[in-house]
Subunit: 142 residues, 2 copies
Amino acid sequence: MKTSIIIDRLQDHGIKPSLQRIAIMEYLMGHYNHPTADVIFNKLYPVIPTLSKTTVYNTLKLLAYKGAISEITIDEKNVRYDAEISPHAHFRCKYCGNVFDFPVKNLSSVVAKEIDGFLITDAQLYYKGYCKKCKTKASQLY
Amino acid sequence: MKTSIIIDRLQDHGIKPSLQRIAIMEYLMGHYNHPTADVIFNKLYPVIPTLSKTTVYNTLKLLAYKGAISEITIDEKNVRYDAEISPHAHFRCKYCGNVFDFPVKNLSSVVAKEIDGFLITDAQLYYKGYCKKCKTKASQLY
DNA sequence: ATCAGATTTGTAATAAGTACAATTTTAAAA
DNA sequence: TTTTAAAATTGTACTTATTACAAATCTGAT
């Protein structure tokens, strides 16, 4: 991935590009598997040995706040992050725990900008259940 | 609220009604403000002095697993619970933190039961933004 | 009354995330 | 180039929601 694309994404959202911010944004734009802060830290730490976990947490919060990435709270255990910011849903398998992207045909029809005087800045649609691989395994539990 | 209605809700979902389970279910059916486990514990502890926090956590997990209530993960800090299980969305104000119920016209149109071999058991639609009261307060921050 | 299984309890542990003060980096002014 | 202030990063210590687990209690059938 070209560094200029990553820097553009940061600057388009009013974020000054630093070494750490670029690395975190680059990781997210190269890995659409909804990583947690911890996963990102462990992947980047060998590359940037001075990296601090606090920086990863702070940066992810900043990126999400500025709208450069989105926060996924489908997992009650930890927050996940996603550089794909176009409207789509997420599915989490109750058996293997994996989170999948899910296209939704009519999502824009339910995602309003303002309802009854409430200002909506962000919308997330989450599905839970059993993925293709785990469907049979899970049914054998009962 | 009549106790028989609460016991019915439990039994309809295959849950044996105990004193603690009834109390927790009753609290949720009487308070649709999406309480956390901690809130529920603190409200019930004076009434049931032997109540343990572990029981509250375990019971809420059980009720959610059996489909008697639903788990709301709109707050990245803690899990909230809701006895209203008909399809509706939730809105969380980024300023005051309150979680509101939100009717959604076309929600059923996007909430499929099965997509591409994935079995969907549960769907949640979350909105974030600023509520009516906080909209002006929040805009003064910038 | 007894007994096994289910439920509850209390304590200790885990782990995600945050507060905060110290250090380092950046970039502009002198 | 040196100075300097603001911004960004770091490391440590802390907080807090949630879970693990073993002991105690309750329940309902025999």
